[in-house]
């Protein structure tokens, strides 16, 4: 019964968001506001762009988590304190590089298209995940780690049973930030021919068709909220207490 209620609390917003998305798509497919926008505003085309967008975000975020979390854990070890400080500062500075610049930079090296976009997004979302993993590990009270050690837990057990579970909320916050940023940044991928919802937005701007601009930005905003909520649900699953 209680589980049911929580499930509703979790899934209802997701359905509402998806519903809102469909409504937006349906409305603008029916009212594209001219022949020019109608060429793009079809169910098939929007669906394809949405799929591209989701795929880009999904792959790059997954990769970022897979690399940044272990890396963050490694640099949070006391014997790597110097490396940790260096990485933390590098990350903070690197974060100030605009995402479009990251995209442009890797375009010159890797050529255009989907994999370059995913690569740039991966690199860009590494940063918040890495920083939060590091911060989360550092936030675990030293007394608790000491108590665990003093009771005879091996370093690995201290990590997996004490430090990681306690750092999870901060790490998850980083992941959520990364994914939400990622959804937004992925709209730039269209500049290097990787598609995604940015196609609607940029086309909308260049030919001044607000229907395109609106569809693209509302869908990507809804997607961002959707992802954030999904991860929030995931967080409450893995969060201690």
């Amino acid at each position: 019964m209680r589980l049911n209620k929580e499930w509703t609390k979790f899934s209802l917003p997701l359905f509402l968001l998806a519903g809102a998305g469909f409504l937006v798509i349906w409305y603008f497919v029916k009212n594209p506001g001219g022949a020019m926008a109608a060429r793009i505003l079809t169910y098939q085309h929007i669906g394809w762009l949405l799929a591209q967008h989701i795929l880009m975000v999904l792959i790059s975020s997954f990769m970022a988590i897979m690399t940044a979390v272990p890396l963050g854990i490694i640099v949070s070890r006391p014997r790597l304190r110097v490396a940790g400080v260096i990485i933390e500062n590098t990350v903070n500075i690197a974060q100030t590089v605009p995402s479009i610049a990251v995209l442009a930079l890797f375009f010159t090296f890797l050529g255009l298209g989907f994999s370059t976009a995913v690569f740039a997004l991966w690199l860009y979302s590494l940063l918040p995940v890495l920083r939060n993993t590091y911060a989360g590990m550092k936030l675990v009270p030293a007394e608790i780690v000491e108590a665990a050690k003093g009771m005879g837990m091996s370093p690995r057990r201290v990590l997996t049973r004490i430090e990681l579970p306690l750092a999870i909320p901060v790490i998850m916050a980083g992941i959520r930030t990364a994914v939400v940023i990622n959804v937004g940044t992925a709209t730039l991928a269209t500049f290097i021919g990787a598609g995604g919802l940015g196609h609607l937005i940029v086309t909308g701007i260049t030919v001044q068709r607000h229907e395109l601009l609106f569809t693209g930005s509302v869908l990507s905003a809804l997607l961002a909220i959707f992802c954030d909520h999904m991860l929030g649900g995931l967080e409450s699953l893995v969060r201690p207490g």
């Binding site: 022949a35 020019m36 926008a37 060429r39 793009i40 990769m63 988590i65 897979m66 690399t67 979390v69 272990p70 890797f106 375009f107 010159t108 090296f109 890797l110 050529g111 255009l112 298209g113 994999s115 370059t116 995913v118 690569f119 991966w122 990590l159 997996t160 049973r161 990681l164 269209t190 500049f191 290097i192 021919g193 598609g195 196609h199 940029v202 086309t203 260049t206 030919v207 893995v238």
Partner: protein
């Protein structure tokens, strides 16, 4: 309760994935193997061209063909995508310096689909009345510029990174337009404007240098931001002349809806209307056309014998 998470496994998978991913990312992809070996006709275009009625949809209708696939990207990216072999055909602007530098060729718009954008000096009538020799002087520039020259000059600035004024001076000197002994008596003051992109800056710099060489005192107002700003400067008398494109004047400044696709016709119509309405005189236009273009790599175009868009349409249909 304690959830068993195989952290070690997760870590290893993460690292392996990321490394593989890195490698894959660096590999890049290409649609072609050798010259003329094109498996899929993918077209690189910017966002605007992909949807505009006078863009890709109507182009394919006019030439009666269909690309296999379309990749939409930023305008500046299409040249590189074509160069790197990501796509076999791309759109761009006909006088862009990268066309020459990257070994690309323009395909001739043999059905005159694209509206024409020939540049010509536009002068305020009272200034021309005062200095009628301006027509002859500026004709020296316009008669000597063609598309290939312009691509080359643009390329010197955009790709090789030379200074606009140097490129302009070099060209004027090569063409023998600068006299060793400029006239000693000073003529009046002329304000020269231009828009802010390379080609306009070059045209502006050439004009400034040539006029100065002919004894004019020139007020250099080149590099103004945007078509409308320059045009207004001319109409209000802030500047006396600048180079404008026939297509731009026809569609933007004179407010017509239907583009004109013949250079001579466009020039005549613009010239008549601008004189009547705005007291502005269009001097002779240059024989290059800064309009949309379809480009291919030179070795592909040569190998497949493609010179015009019609050739391209035929080859694609045959494939």
């Amino acid at each position: 309760m304690a959830r068993k998470i195989p952290w070690k496994l997760v870590l290893v998978i993460g690292i392996v994935f990321s490394m593989g991913f890195l490698a894959a990312g660096c590999g890049g992809g290409s649609t072609q193997t050798g010259a003329g070996q094109i498996s899929k006709w993918v077209f690189a275009t910017d966002h605007e061209f992909s949807v505009r009625p006078d863009g890709l949809p109507e182009l394919q209708k006019a030439y009666d063909f269909q690309f296999d696939d379309i990749r939409v990207m930023d305008l500046g990216v299409t040249y590189g995508a074509l160069k790197d072999g990501e796509v076999p055909v791309a759109m761009g602007f006909a006088t862009d310096g990268r066309i020459g530098a990257y070994g690309l060729v323009n395909l001739e718009d043999d059905k005159h689909f694209f509206p024409v954008y020939n540049p010509a000096p536009v002068v305020r009538k009272e200034v021309l009345d005062k200095y009628p020799e301006l027509e002859e002087i500026l004709k020296k520039i316009s008669s000597r510029l063609d598309t290939e020259t312009m691509i080359d000059l643009n390329g010197q600035v955009d790709v090789e990174g030379k200074e606009v004024t140097d490129v302009a001076k070099e060209w004027l000197t090569e063409e023998g337009l600068l006299s060793e002994t400029p006239p000693s008596e000073k003529k009046g003051k002329i304000g020269v404007g231009s828009k802010e992109f390379t080609e306009q800056l070059l045209l502006g710099a050439m004009t400034v240098q040539l006029l100065e060489n002919n004894g004019f005192e020139v007020e250099d107002k080149t590099g103004l931001a945007g078509t409308n700003v320059v045009r207004q400067a001319l109409e209000t008398g802030e500047i006396d002349l600048y180079w404008e494109y026939t297509g731009t004047a026809w569609l933007a400044h004179l407010g017509h809806e239907e583009p004109i696709t013949d250079s001579q016709e466009a020039f005549q119509k613009v010239k008549e209307e601008d004189l009547a309405k705005n007291n502005l005189v269009w001097l002779d236009y240059a024989d290059f056309d800064n309009t949309y273009t379809l480009m291919m790599r030179k070795e592909d175009a040569d190998a497949l014998g493609i010179k015009t868009i019609s050739d391209l349409a035929r080859v694609i249909k045959e494939d």
